[in-house]
């Protein structure tokens, strides 16, 4: 019999019950909660007279609606404020672990979970948020769920699941200087498509993946969902273990060596068989920039916007035409000629300390182009912000003309006051370039933090390798 994939191991360890047609009850170890997708779930729980099954599995914080203005004390928008207050109330009612506004640990749930050591190898991690795939970087089975499933996990600590197919995405070789995990994952999505991973759990492997820091691995797994895969994961190695040591929720004392020994098993067996294998050569990856309204609409910075007239598939062609019309762009335009209005550095994809360091390194001693209306840095969490300030990165950003903000989702989805105006182009380090994602009529170009930083200085996209 063939060996097990990492996904098989994680799955098998969490099955509570399987019925005749393969539908399983899967036990959930960690449940992250934010204000947007939880109120109706708490409401349902209350309506049915049920209690949370295991409160200590839950960690809650507001992130999507929270303002990022320095020193804010209140949310101006009454609808947003009510949503955050509802989470305050529910956290209080059910005595949950809670990082409210004002708590220095608060931030984007996918940045805070790993940072606190609340995400551990071998766990099942869920959240009412599609980017829960981020946590797979720790060899966890982590995936986003809808509000009904949020309620299901609260009430039963389980989810009803069918096993996914498995895909291994192997990035072999070494990535070039100036290139990052973001370029890698955008190149992967460009290759397999926005629906390429549908129905699969993706394991990222290969030399270039192993060479990444935990921050980089989180960036890659974060965007597994943009390739259609509900979960992405990476095997445990020394990098994983070193990252977790001494984190607040991580095991300590006698438990630490026991846990580490168990974690070392969390990799695919050498003879494991995947349903699909995709291999990329890291050396061929260049800085990536999206030009359209799906993350699969991506090109290298030295390329031109593709011409729909040359696309043979009629559905794809019409998709490209609609995208270019929305983006206000012409086919065959060099990527470096795309005009820019704003730059956003942040989000659960690229709002961690390493991302801010990479951006600051490019910016150091330079100034934001006068043609830009705004350049924004939003740290992923309070602790990332504090760390960056300790290192003096905030000064680098501010001196260059960037705004330095409080942590949260911010302009990644524009539920708070940070947003694009209709027609504006933004270089963003987030994960989605959908129509209206950063504000109605706004036009998003996804890039790495270093590329966003360089674009802010130049006022248009430039190849960060020669900048």
């Amino acid at each position: 019999m063939a060996g097990k994939t990492l996904y098989d191991k994680l799955w098998d360890a969490h099955v509570v019950h399987t019925d005749a047609n393969g539908t399983a009850l899967l036990y959930i170890d960690r449940h992250l909660v934010h204000e947007v997708t939880s109120p109706q779930a708490f409401g349902g729980l209350q309506l049915a007279g049920r209690q949370p099954w295991r409160r200590d599995s839950m960690i809650a914080m507001p992130d999507h609606n929270t303002p990022t203005t320095p020193g804010f004390t209140e949310i101006d928008d009454p609808v947003s404020r009510l949503q955050v207050e509802t989470l305050d109330d529910n956290a209080h009612r059910y005595t949950l672990r809670y990082f409210p506004i004002g708590d220095p640990r608060r931030g984007i749930v996918h940045v805070v979970g790993p940072e606190q050591g609340a995400t551990l190898p071998g766990m099942t991690v869920v959240c009412g948020d599609s980017h829960t795939s981020t946590h797979g970087a720790f060899a966890a089975l982590a995936f986003g769920i809808g509000t009904s499933e949020v309620e299901h996990v609260m009430a039963t600590q389980c989810l009803i699941q069918k096993k996914s197919k498995t895909m291994q995405v192997c990035v072999e070789g070494e990535i070039g200087p100036g290139l990052t995990a973001k370029d890698m994952v955008l190149a992967i999505i460009g290759r397999i498509g926005a629906a390429g991973g549908t129905g699969y759990a993706i394991e990222f492997a290969g030399e270039a993946i192993r060479a990444l820091s935990m921050e980089g691995r989180m960036t890659v797994c974060n965007m597994a969902i943009e390739a259609g895969a509900r979960s992405g994961m990476i095997a445990v190695d020394e990098t994983t273990i070193a990252y977790l040591q001494n984190r607040a929720f991580a095991p300590s004392g006698d438990l630490w060596p026991r846990a580490v020994a168990a974690w070392r098993e969390l990799h695919s067996d050498p003879d494991a068989v995947f349903d699909r294998v995709v291999t990329l050569d890291a050396a061929t990856i260049k800085p990536q920039v999206t030009w359209g309204t799906s993350p699969e609409m991506v090109a290298a910075v030295d390329e031109r916007i593709p011409d729909p007239a040359r696309e043979l598939d009629p559905i794809k062609r019409s998709g490209m035409e609609k995208a270019l019309q929305y983006m206000g762009l012409q086919p065959n335009t060099p990527i470096t000629d795309i005009p820019l209005d704003r730059v956003f550095i942040g989000s659960c994809t690229n709002g961690r300390i390493e991302d801010l360091r990479a951006a600051a390194a490019v910016i150091q001693g330079r100034t934001v182009a006068s043609s830009l209306k705004q350049a924004l840095v939003v740290p992923g969490s309070g602790l990332v912000k504090r760390q960056a300030e300790t290192e003096g990165l905030d000064r680098v950003f501010k001196q260059a003309g960037f705004e330095w903000r409080e942590p949260g989702c911010s302009m990644c989805l524009a539920m708070n006051a940070d947003r694009l105006l209709p027609g504006e182009h933004c270089a963003a380090t987030s994960n989605r370039n959908f129509e209206g994602r950063q504000g109605q009529g706004g036009r998003t170009h996804l890039v790495s933090p270093a590329m966003a930083a360089a674009a802010a200085i130049a006022g248009h996209f430039v190849d960060v390798r020669t900048f």
């Binding site: 599609s130 299901h152 209206g436």
Partner: protein, 212 residues
């Protein structure tokens, strides 16, 4: 859970691939803490010519006449026909609630994003996967025929066209039974409460750090 059995409904085409949940229900409407009130804002940015914000009276807003859902011939549609990767992006179940409240009970597409697919069943909205070429054929027929209706039969697992052609579709047996019977899946899971507790006791021994 809402029951879904058989549906004979008017079909509205939405000829785009990769329709994401941000498009189905834009983020400004997710600030609501309720499960209802989303139908008027379904496809808000495509459906209206102005910029929608929570609390606006949708009946008074200018409609985009080019958007299929606004065309009189599709008024009252309960089946949405779309292209591949429908419902990609954010996990927001509000997308399903908005479709349901608008009156859509079934979406037919060549493929769906996983989270949207799972969410649909929870509100009694049936996602039906048909082959790309069949979906293509349905797009041609619906555009050519006014008042085009399909019969979606969950029990028989078929989609039947007005001229009697029946296309079979797959559906997971457990989900099918939940929809046919309107079962509450939390209730079903809690029948296994003893097994869940036994699992927890064993895991606490094996890996106590998971319970911190």
């Amino acid at each position: 859970m809402k029951v879904f059995n058989q549906l004979k409904g008017l079909v509205v085409p939405l000829d785009r691939a990769n329709i994401d949940t941000d498009a189905i229900i834009p983020k400004q409407f997710l600030k609501s803490i309720k499960r209802t009130g989303f139908g008027g804002n379904l496809f808000d940015a495509w459906r209206y010519l102005d910029h929608g914000e929570p609390g606006m009276a949708c009946a008074k807003r200018p409609l985009n006449p080019d958007f299929s859902l606004n065309q009189p011939r599709y008024e009252g549609a309960s089946i949405l026909l779309a292209r591949e990767n429908f419902g990609c992006g954010s996990s927001r179940e509000h997308a399903v609630w908005a479709l349901d409240e608008y009156g859509i009970r079934c979406v037919i597409a060549p493929s769906f994003a996983d989270i949207f697919f799972t969410n649909s069943f929870k509100s009694g909205l049936l996602p039906v996967v048909l082959d790309t070429h069949i979906v293509d054929q349905l797009f041609h027929e619906v555009e050519a025929t006014s008042g085009y209706r399909l019969i979606v039969d969950l029990h028989a697992q078929t989609v039947t066209t007005p001229d009697g052609a029946a296309f079979p579709f797959d559906v997971d047996e457990f989900r099918k039974q939940c929809l046919l019977n309107g079962w509450d899946d939390i209730g079903l899971t809690l029948r296994h409460a003893d097994e869940i507790r036994a699992y927890e006791i064993r895991r606490r021994e094996e890996a106590p750090w998971l319970f911190a």
